[in-house]
C-alpha cells in the first residue's frame, strides 16, 4: 500500500527483516530516503508495534558495513586477509557458471550450499536439488532443530513458525529456557495481554533475563537438566492422576498396545490387527486398545470402547502387551522429584508443586468454547475444550545434546495435560499439523546424486525409519555434514556447523565449492571459531586451499566475507522482493494460514543484487529443469516472475504464495498463477491471511473438517488423524536396527551402541554428552549465552543505534563465583573450557543460578569487521563464547570424530559447554581474548563515518554515503 500523506513523505508497506519475526512495517520515505519505519497497524502479526531492531532498520540500510560490489580475492592475497578487488557481476557469474557447470557435470556433491538466517529455504533448497547436490542446509541445525524435531516427531507441530502458546486463553504459562528471539513481537503482545488478564507466568531458566523478568515466579535450573525436570513433573502428573485421561485416550497413542515379547521380532512395536498394503506417511488406524469392558484387545477408537491406559495384559497366544501409557509410567517411575532435585538444583517440593499447579489448573480451569466440530472418527462435538496451561521453549531446551529427548518429554507433558491444539494450550499454525513424521524424504543412497541431474529426493526430509537414511551401503553418510546418517539420523535441518570441519578434513569427502549465504561461519555461527577460521584458510601439501573455492553472499562486511574467494553483495530487506511462503516458513496465525511478502522500498544500493536473483540467474545459466523450458531456455525473467509462475508441479496450482491465485486472483491456497499477484499483496499490507471457519481452528490433528480442507488445499497429502506419539515407534525402529533385529539399513558397528542408547521410544534423561566425557570437577560451571531483545544474532553491531545499547558484553555470574575463584566484580577473567579459553570482564548478578555463567550472544566482533573501527568496544571489550565451544566432542578415539550435537538430530549443543573461570594476570587485562588482525574495509564500502553522525531522513546525507564510496 502506498499512501501520500504530504508532498514530501511517501509511505510504503513491506515486511521487516531485522530479525526472523517478520512484522509488517510501513516505511516513510522522503526524497527517496528512509525517514521512519513504523509497525503496520493493519498487520496481523505485530498489530502496529515494532521492536528496537525494527525501528533501527534505517541504520541497517545506511550502515557503512554494506557491501556494494562483487569482490574477488586479490590473486596474491591469502584468505582471511580481506584483500579484494571489485569485479563486475558478469565476471562473477562467469566464474561461478564455469565452476559450477563443471562440478555438476562431474560430481554434484562437490558443491555445497549452506545458508544462514535466510527466509527463502524453499528457493535455496530447490536450487540445491536442481543442482543435484545433497549438500544443502540452512542454519536450523545449529539453531533449534531439536525443538522442531522433538515436537514434530511427537505432536506433529512445534513452537515458532509452526505453532505456539495460546496466551489469549491460557491461565498458566510456563516458559522454559531462553526463547526471546523467536516470534518476539507477537509473543510480547500476547504475554502482556496474558498478564493483564491475570494469568500466572512461571519462568524456568538458569538466568532471569528476557521475558523471565516479568514472570510471577522464577525457578532457576542448572543448564541441560530440563529433561530431568520435565520427566519428574510428568511422573508426578501421572502418579497424582492429574493427566487428562479423555485426551490421552482419544488423541494419543497412550492406550495403544505394545508388543513386549522379548523373543518376538516385533518387540517394542505396536500391535497391528492388519497390515495395509501400502502405508502412506501417516499412522494407519490399525492399532489395538485393551478394552475395559470386554477385557480384550479391540481396534482403536471403536465406538463405545474404553481402553485401559495402565496395566499389563496377555494376548490369547500369550504375548505380553502393555499400553504405551503404562510403559511411559514405568519409564518415569524412577524419575522422582527427589531424583530431579539433585540434578536440576530445584527443590523436590517445588517440582511437585509445579506439577500440581499444571495439573490442577488444566483440570479445574477448563475452557469450553461453543464451537462445534467433528473428529475424524465421525464423533460430533458441540464445543471445544481447553486446558489452559501453555508452554513455550526454544533454544534453551534445544541447544543441548540431550535436547531432543527433553523436548520429547515436554511435548509429552503438554499432551498429558491435554493442551495440544486446544484453547489455552499449544496451537498449531498452517501448514502444521503434519503427519508424524511429515512426508518429505531425502535421497536414500549415493545413487540419488547423479551428474547433470536433479537430486533424487528432497534436500531435507523427515526420516520415518532407518531405510529413509541418506547413507551408502556401508551405512556411511552421503552428505558432507553427515546429516541423515547414523551419526545423527533425524537431522532434519542438516548440520551446517560441521560442514567446514568436515570439508577441511575431507571426511566423508572433500568439497570443491562452498557457497555460504548470510551465515557468519568465521565468527558467531561456528563453534570452535578460532580453529574454524584456520581451517578456512588451511592449505594442503600442494599449497591449495583445503576448501578450494569459497563463495560468500552477504549484504555486510561480516567476518566470514574476509575468507571468501568471491563475495556477492546482497541487498538489504528494504531493497528486495521476498516471500514468507507456505512452502517454507510462513507467518500463519492460529486461525489460519498467513503468508507475506517484501516489496522493494528502495532501489538496490550500488551493485547489490538479491541472492534470489543470483540463484535464478545461475539456475537458468546452468539449465536446471525447474528454471528452463524444454528447449533449455530461461523460464523466469527474474525473482518476482519466478514467484508468480513457479508451481510445485506443472498445473499443481500450488506456488510460493497462497493468496490471490487464479487468473483473476480470486482463488486462495491453490489456483493458477496470477500475473497480478504482487500487486494484490502490495495492496493488502504485503500479506495474505486466510481465516478458517472456527470449527477448523482447534483439534486440527483430529479435526475432520480441517484435515479435509488441508488436503483439498494441498497443505497435507492425507486427511488421516495425527495421533500424538507418547511412545515413538519411529525412534524404536532405529533402535531395532541398531540391535540388529530389523531388516533393512543397519548402522556401522561403531555406531550401534550409540544409536541403541539414544533412540529410545520413551524420553529419558542423560547428561549432556560432553559432560559425560570431561572431568566436571575441572570445569565446574555451565556457560550459556542469552539473547538480547535489542540485538538479533550478530546482525546489529554495525547498527549505530543498537550498538549503543549493547556495545560489549560481560560474563555474568553470581557473586559467589568470584568469591570462590578469587576475583571481583568488574575484574578481567579467563574463561576456560576443555577446548580453549577466552578473556573477558566479570559482572556480578543476583539473577543467575550459581553454577552458571552467561553472556549476551554475538556482541563480540573481530577487529575491523562489520565496518566498525578497530578499537570499537565490540572488539576490545566484546567477546565470543564460541571460541571455547567445540564443534566436535572431546576425547574421541584416534581418528574418530563426532559432532558436539544431539545424537538424534545433530542439533549443535551450544549450551553444553562447561568452564572454569579465574582472574587474568595484570599483563592480560584491558582487552578481551582472542584478538585477530584488523579486517580491512573492502572496495565499494563507504568511507569511515568519523566522529559524528546525525541521521535526518530525507536530507540526502545517507543516500549519498554509498555514492561517495571508495570504489
Amino acid at each position: 500500500m502506498t499512501t501520500q500523506t504530504n508532498q514530501a513523505t511517501e509511505i510504503k508497506s513491506t515486511t521487516c527483516y531485522m530479525c526472523a519475526c517478520r512484522c509488517g512495517i510501513n516505511v516513510h520515505l522522503k526524497n527517496g530516503e528512509v525517514k521512519y519505519i513504523e509497525g503496520n497497524p493493519d498487520h496481523p502479526l505485530n498489530k502496529g508495534v515494532i521492536c528496537a531492531k525494527g525501528s533501527s532498520g534505517i541504520m541497517k540500510q545506511y550502515s557503512p558495513a554494506r557491501l556494494t560490489t562483487p569482490l574477488r580475492r586479490k590473486a596474491n592475497a591469502t584468505r582471511g586477509e580481506g584483500q579484494f578487488e571489485a569485479i563486475t557481476w558478469e565476471e562473477a557469474f562467469d566464474t561461478l557458471e564455469t565452476r559450477l557447470r563443471h562440478i555438476r557435470a562431474t560430481d554434484p556433491k562437490k558443491f555445497g550450499l549452506f545458508t544462514g538466517r535466510d527466509q527463502m529455504q524453499a528457493l535455496t533448497g530447490l536450487f540445491a536439488k536442481q543442482f543435484g547436490t545433497p549438500n544443502y542446509a540452512a542454519h536450523g541445525g545449529f539453531c533449534s532443530v531439536n525443538m522442531a524435531a522433538g515436537m514434530i516427531y511427537t505432536i506433529g507441530g512445534s513452537f515458532w513458525e509452526f505453532g505456539g502458546p495460546d496466551l489469549h486463553h491460557a491461565k498458566l504459562f510456563v516458559m522454559i529456557g531462553t526463547a526471546e528471539d523467536h516470534h518476539s513481537n507477537p509473543l510480547k503482545i500476547e504475554l502482556a495481554e496474558f498478564k493483564r488478564n491475570g494469568g500466572r507466568m512461571i519462568a524456568i531458566n538458569p538466568v532471569r533475563t528476557g521475558y523471565a523478568a516479568v514472570a510471577d515466579e522464577w525457578i532457576p535450573i542448572r543448564p541441560g537438566t530440563d529433561g530431568a525436570l520435565l520427566l519428574a513433573i510428568t511422573r508426578e502428573i501421572i502418579e497424582q492422576g492429574l493427566y487428562d485421561r479423555d485426551f490421552v485416550v482419544n488423541y494419543t497413542n497412550g492406550p495403544e498396545l505394545v508388543n513386549l515379547d522379548p523373543n518376538n521380532r516385533e518387540y517394542g512395536m505396536f500391535l497391528r490387527f492388519e497390515v495395509p498394503l501400502e502405508e502412506g506417511c501417516f499412522d494407519p488406524q490399525n492399532k489395538l486398545w485393551w478394552d475395559k469392558d470386554l477385557n480384550k484387545p479391540i481396534s482403536t477408537h471403536t465406538p463405545g470402547a474404553d481402553p485401559f491406559l495402565i496395566g499389563e495384559f496377555k494376548l490369547k497366544d500369550g504375548t505380553p502387551v502393555k499400553p504405551a501409557f503404562q510403559l511411559l509410567r514405568e519409564r518415569v517411575e524412577s524419575y522422582t522429584a527427589e531424583w530431579a532435585e539433585d540434578i536440576t538444583g530445584i527443590p523436590a517440593a517445588t517440582i511437585k508443586r509445579l506439577a500440581h499447579e499444571m495439573g490442577i489448573t488444566a483440570r479445574d480451569q477448563k475452557i469450553e468454547l461453543p464451537i462445534a466440530w467433528t473428529d475424524v472418527w465421525g464423533n460430533e462435538h458441540d464445543h471445544v475444550t481447553g486446558n489452559p496451561v501453555a508452554f513455550h521453549a526454544m533454544r534453551g531446551l534445544a541447544a543441548h545434546s540431550n535436547g531432543f529427548q527433553s523436548i520429547r518429554a515436554l511435548s509429552i507433558l503438554m499432551s498429558l495435560l491435554g493442551t495440544i491444539d486446544r484453547p489455552g494450550g499449544f496451537r498449531h499454525k498452517a501448514p502444521y499439523p503434519r503427519p508424524i513424521p511429515p512426508c518429505p524424504k531425502t535421497g536414500t543412497s549415493p545413487d540419488a546424486v547423479k551428474p547433470n541431474t536433479p537430486l533424487d529426493g528432497m534436500p531435507l526430509g523427515w526420516p520415518a525409519d532407518p531405510d529413509d537414511l541418506f547413507v551408502d551401503d556401508a551405512g556411511e553418510p552421503v552428505r558432507i555434514d553427515k546429516g541423515f546418517s547414523w551419526e545423527y539420523p533425524l537431522s532434519v535441518h542438516g548440520l551446517m556447523h560441521n560442514v567446514i570441519t568436515n570439508a577441511w578434513r575431507g571426511d566423508p569427502y572433500k568439497l570443491d565449492t562452498l557457497l555460504i549465504f548470510m551465515a557468519n561461519m568465521a565468527w558467531n555461527s561456528s563453534m570452535n571459531t578460532t580453529e574454524v577460521r584456520d581451517m578456512l584458510k588451511d592449505k594442503d601439501e600442494n599449497g591449495d586451499y583445503k576448501i578450494p573455492f569459497l563463495v560468500v553472499c552477504d549484504a555486510f562486511h561480516s567476518e566470514m566475507t574476509a575468507f571468501a574467494d568471491l563475495i556477492l553483495p546482497d541487498t538489504t530487506y528494504l531493497e528486495r522482493y521476498d516471500v514468507m511462503s507456505m512452502l517454507d516458513r510462513p507467518i500463519s496465525e492460529y486461525d489460519g494460514p498467513v503468508d507475506s511478502v517484501r516489496i522493494p522500498i528502495l532501489p538496490p544500493t550500488g551493485q547489490c543484487k538479491p541472492f534470489q536473483e543470483v540463484l535464478i540467474e545461475l539456475g537458468s545459466r546452468l539449465g536446471f529443469p525447474a528454471f528452463t523450458d524444454a528447449k533449455g531456455k530461461r523460464k523466469f525473467k527474474d525473482y518476482p516472475d519466478f514467484i508468480i509462475n513457479f508451481e510445485t508441479a506443472p498445473g499443481s496450482g500450488i506456488g510460493f504464495l497462497s493468496g490471490w491465485r487464479g487468473q483473476n486472483g480470486q482463488k486462495t491456497m491453490r489456483g493458477e498463477p496470477n500475473p497480478n499477484q504482487w500487486e494484490q499483496y502490495a495492496k493488502n499490507n504485503c500479506m495474505h491471511h486466510h481465516v478458517m471457519p472456527k470449527s477448523y481452528q482447534y483439534m486440527r490433528n483430529w479435526n475432520e473438517g480441517y484435515l479435509q480442507w488441508a488436503k483439498a488445499n494441498g497443505l497435507t497429502r492425507h486427511a488421516e488423524p495425527i495421533n500424538i506419539h507418547l511412545y515413538s515407534e519411529v525412534l524404536h525402529k532405529f533402535r531395532r536396527a541398531a540391535q540388529g533385529i530389523s531388516h533393512g539399513k543397519q548402522p556401522p558397528e561403531r555406531l550401534r551402541k550409540r544409536v541403541e542408547r539414544f533412540f529410545d521410544a520413551l524420553p529419558f534423561y542423560h547428561e549432556p554428552l560432553e559432560n559425560e566425557m570431561i572431568n566436571k570437577q575441572d570445569f565446574p560451571l555451565s556457560a550459556l549465552t542469552q539473547r538480547p531483545m535489542a540485538m538479533y544474532h550478530s546482525w546489529d553491531s554495525q547498527n549505530a543505534w543498537l550498538r549503543q545499547i549493547h556495545a560489549h558484553n560481560y560474563l555474568h555470574m553470581h557473586p559467589s563465583v568470584g568469591e570462590k575463584y578469587g576475583f571481583e566484580d568488574g575484574d578481567w577473567i579467563w574463561v576456560e573450557s576443555t577446548h580453549g579459553r577466552v578473556r573477558c570482564e566479570a559482572r556480578y548478578s543476583q539473577s543467575v543460578e550459581p553454577n552458571t555463567v552467561w553472556t549476551w550472544n554475538a556482541i563480540g566482533k573481530a577487529s575491523g569487521a562489520w565496518g566498525l573501527e578497530k578499537d570499537a568496544n565490540e572488539c576490545t571489550r566484546g567477546f565470543l563464547l564460541n571460541h571455547i565451544i567445540g564443534e566436535e566432542l572431546p576425547n574421541q578415539a584416534e581418528g574418530e570424530h563426532i559432532s558436539n550435537s544431539d545424537p538424534i538430530t545433530g542439533q549443535a549443543a551450544w549450551f553444553d559447554v562447561r568452564v572454569k573461570v579465574y582472574k587474568a594476570d595484570k599483563k592480560d587485562q584491558g582487552s578481551t581474548f582472542p584478538q585477530f588482525p584488523t579486517q580491512p574495509r573492502y572496495p565499494g564500502m563507504a568511507k569511515p563515518v568519523g566522529k559524528w553522525q546525525t541521521f535526518i531522513g530525507g536530507s540526502g546525507l545517507f543516500k549519498n554515503r554509498f555514492k561517495r564510496g571508495e570504489a
Binding site: 550498538r803 549503543q804 545499547i805 549493547h806 556495545a807 560489549h808 559482572r843 548478578s845 543476583q846 568496544n873
Partner: protein, 325 residues
C-alpha cells in the same frame, strides 16, 4: 557532578574580582571616614585594582562562555530573571563589573565631585558609585551561590553555607590580592587588607569545614527505592541502557577514585587556607609584597581545587539511575 573547568574558573575569578573590588572600596571607605588609611587617597592602588577587577571579571566571563553550547545566544540569558538565579547572575555580573569599572574610571579621570557633605565627611561621587558596585558585588555572590543552593535535590549544595562560602572565599581571595597590591603600592591599607584577608580566610575555613562536615553526614532523601519506586533494601543496577556512556554518565560524575577526592580535599584545605594564612602573616609582618602575592596566588590555586571539589562532591540524584557507571 562533573566539575567543568569553565565554571570553576568563572566562579573563582569573579569571586576574587568581587572581593578585590570590595577591598578597594573598603579602603576608600576607611580613607573617607578616617578609620585607617593613607594620608592621600591611594589613587594608583584604586586604578590598578580596578584594572585587575575588570580583568578578573572579564576572564571569568570569558571562561563562562566555554560552558555555553551556544555562546552567541548568551544575550538571551538575561530573559528569565524573575525565576532563574542564573539569569540574575547574568544581569548582576555585568552590572557589577560595569559599575566597578566606572568607579575606577572616575578615579582615573579624577572626576569625583562631592555629592553631599554629612558632618565633616564629604561624600564624593566615587563613594556612592562604589557603594552601588559593592552592593552589586554582594548580590553577585548571592546569585552565584544561589545558582547551586537553589537546586534543592543536590543536597550538598542546597544550604546557605554555599552562599556563605562563595562570599567568604571570594572575599578572602580578593582581600589577599588587595593586601599584596597595597603592599606593592606601599599603601598603609595593607594592614587592614591583610587583617581582613586573614579574617575571611579563617572564617571561610571554618564555614567550609562546616560544609564538609555537613556534606559528610548528609542523609540523602532520594534512594534507589524512591528512584524506581520499588521498596527493597537491596537494589542493584545492572544496565543503564547505554554501554558506550551517555550525557548522564558524563555530566553528573567525576569518574575519580575516593582516594583522589580525599587528596583534593586535603590539598585545597592546605592551599586555600593554611598556606595563605601563614604567608599573609609572614608577608604582613614583613610588609613583603611578594610573599603576600604568593599568598594570594596560592590561595587562588587552592580555591580552584576547592571549587573542583565543590562540584565533584555534589551527588546528583539522577546518579541513582546510573549506578552501574
Amino acid at each position: 557532578m562533573h566539575p567543568a573547568f569553565s565554571v570553576i574558573f568563572l566562579t573563582t575569578l569573579i569571586g576574587a574580582g568581587q572581593g578585590l573590588f570590595l577591598a578597594l572600596y573598603t579602603g576608600q571607605v576607611y580613607n573617607t571616614f578616617g578609620v585607617v588609611g593613607d594620608v592621600m587617597p591611594p589613587q594608583p592602588l584604586y586604578i590598578a585594582g580596578t584594572v585587575i577587577v575588570t580583568l578578573l571579571m572579564a576572564l571569568g566571563l570569558f571562561a563562562s562562555f566555554f560552558h555555553l553550547g551556544r555562546p552567541e545566544r548568551a544575550w538571551r540569558a538575561a530573559t528569565m530573571w524573575r525565576t532563574s538565579w542564573l539569569a540574575r547572575e547574568v544581569i548582576v555580573l555585568p552590572a557589577f563589573a560595569g559599575t566597578a569599572f566606572l568607579w575606577g574610571a572616575l578615579h582615573y579621570f579624577g572626576i569625583d565631585p562631592v555629592v553631599f557633605t554629612t558632618g565633616t565627611v564629604e561624600v564624593k561621587l566615587t563613594l556612592l558609585v562604589g557603594l552601588v558596585a559593592g552592593v552589586l558585588a554582594f548580590l553577585l555572590y548571592v546569585c552565584t551561590g544561589m545558582i547551586y543552593a537553589a537546586i534543592k535535590f543536590i543536597q550538598e549544595w542546597a544550604t546557605p553555607l554555599t552562599i556563605v562560602n562563595y562570599t567568604l572565599l571570594g572575599l578572602a581571595s580578593g582581600f589577599s590580592l588587595a593586601a599584596a597590591l597595597s603592599a606593592y603600592y606601599c599603601s598603609s591599607l595593607v594592614d587592614a587588607y591583610a587583617l581582613w584577608a586573614l579574617v575571611f580566610t579563617l572564617v571561610g575555613f571554618v564555614s567550609r569545614i562546616f560544609a564538609l562536615r555537613r556534606n559528610g553526614r548528609l542523609k540523602y532523601k532520594s534512594t534507589a527505592c524512591t528512584a524506581i519506586g520499588v521498596r527493597h533494601p537491596k537494589i542493584t543496577q545492572i544496565s543503564q541502557g547505554a554501554m558506550g556512556g551517555s550525557f548522564n554518565t558524563r555530566e553528573f560524575f567525576h569518574h575519580k577514585t575516593p582516594q583522589f577526592m580525599q587528596a583534593i580535599k586535603v590539598f585545597f584545605l592546605i592551599m586555600a587556607f593554611i598556606v595563605p594564612v601563614t604567608l599573609v602573616v609572614i608577608g604582613w609582618s614583613n610588609q613583603f609584597a611578594l610573599v603576600l602575592l604568593a599568598a594570594a596566588l596560592i590561595q587562588y590555586v587552592g580555591l580552584l581545587a576547592e571549587r573542583w571539589f565543590f562540584f565533584a562532591q555534589a551527588n546528583h540524584p539522577q546518579n541513582l539511575y546510573y549506578q552501574a557507571t
